[in-house]
């Protein structure tokens, strides 16, 4: 394996982990705030 394979693997793992966490937190927040709004209406 060349050095680039390791570099790509490290960036892919970090990218997936960070974006996954960001999206999961965003969805959780939107869902929770939407449920409050729908109850108020």
């Amino acid at each position: 394996m060349t050095h680039w394979h390791f570099v790509i693997a490290a960036y892919a793992v970090t990218g997936m982990g960070t974006l996954g966490l960001l999206l999961a937190s965003l969805i959780e927040m939107i869902k929770a705030e939407k449920s409050i709004l729908s109850l108020e209406q």
Binding site: T2, H3, A10, Y11, V13, M29, A32
Partner: protein, 241 residues
């Protein structure tokens, strides 16, 4: 700090801040990663693998800074009884654990071509693994206390005691013989050439902004759920009358 004790006041600041931190964080991270992959020369010893530094160092910093945040919020919760401190500490734990895991994964990937080994039981890697276990224990304890309706005091004490691991992680490469290099960036300057170092500033700032945005999102989710639960309880009491 007490200015933010009121959840309504906190939300007024947190809502626009979440969007700004996410946008700035993503832009800086994208630029830093692209620059790190295309604009810097390979290292004379490590070759192209030095580029892993631009994602590995920020994840290590956030894993450690995350637990420092947990400890500070726990002290604030116990000493000043700040109403948002426990929520903040719990909101930091999951992203802190994820970034510690990413640090261990990228470090392992970097170790294979550099040291010829995916894993070594040396001071730095072992203390970082201990940090991951501390995060997992903290999350489990916080969930258990929430389910049993406890105040979260035990979780806060665990958060403070666990902070003992942070100086151990920092000192591990100085105190013990390790394959891991000694700190390259200190208060006295950097041992890394500036032509290789500069994208690290962008990825550090980008990851930190995203971490802060994620913590705010998780805090907002908990505040909304708490508000919903309280309102449902009130509605149930009113309909029972």
């Amino acid at each position: 700090l007490h200015f933010l004790a009121n959840p309504t006041r906190f939300l007024r600041i947190a809502k626009p801040l979440t969007l700004w931190l996410t946008t700035i964080g993503l832009a800086m991270l994208l630029y830093g990663c692209l620059a790190g992959l295309t604009q810097t020369p390979p290292d004379y010893l490590q070759g192209e693998t030095v580029r892993i530094m631009y994602v590995h160092v920020p994840t290590a910093w956030l894993g450690m800074a995350g637990w420092s945040g947990v400890a500070i919020a726990s002290i604030t919760q116990l000493v000043w009884r700040h109403p948002l401190a426990a929520i903040a500490a719990n909101a930091v734990a999951v992203p802190g654990a994820v970034f510690t895991l990413l640090c261990l994964a990228t470090g392992s990937i970097w170790g294979r071509p550099t040291w010829g080994s995916w894993w070594e039981w040396d001071g730095r890697m072992t203390s970082m693994l201990v940090l991951l276990f501390l995060y997992i224990g903290y999350i489990a304890l916080a969930n258990a206390e929430r389910e049993t309706g406890n105040s979260g005091k035990t979780t806060a004490i665990f958060g403070i005691v666990g902070a003992i691991n942070i100086p151990i992680i920092h000192g591990s490469v100085i105190w013990w013989k390790s394959l891991h290099q000694a700190p390259s960036i200190t208060m006295r300057g950097s041992a890394i050439s500036s032509e290789i170092l500069w994208p690290l500033g962008f990825t550090m700032a980008g990851f930190t902004c995203l971490f802060a945005a994620i913590v705010l999102m998780r805090m907002r989710a908990v505040l909304a759920s708490t508000k919903l639960e309280a309102r449902m309880r009130r509605m149930a009491t009113e309909s029972a009358r």
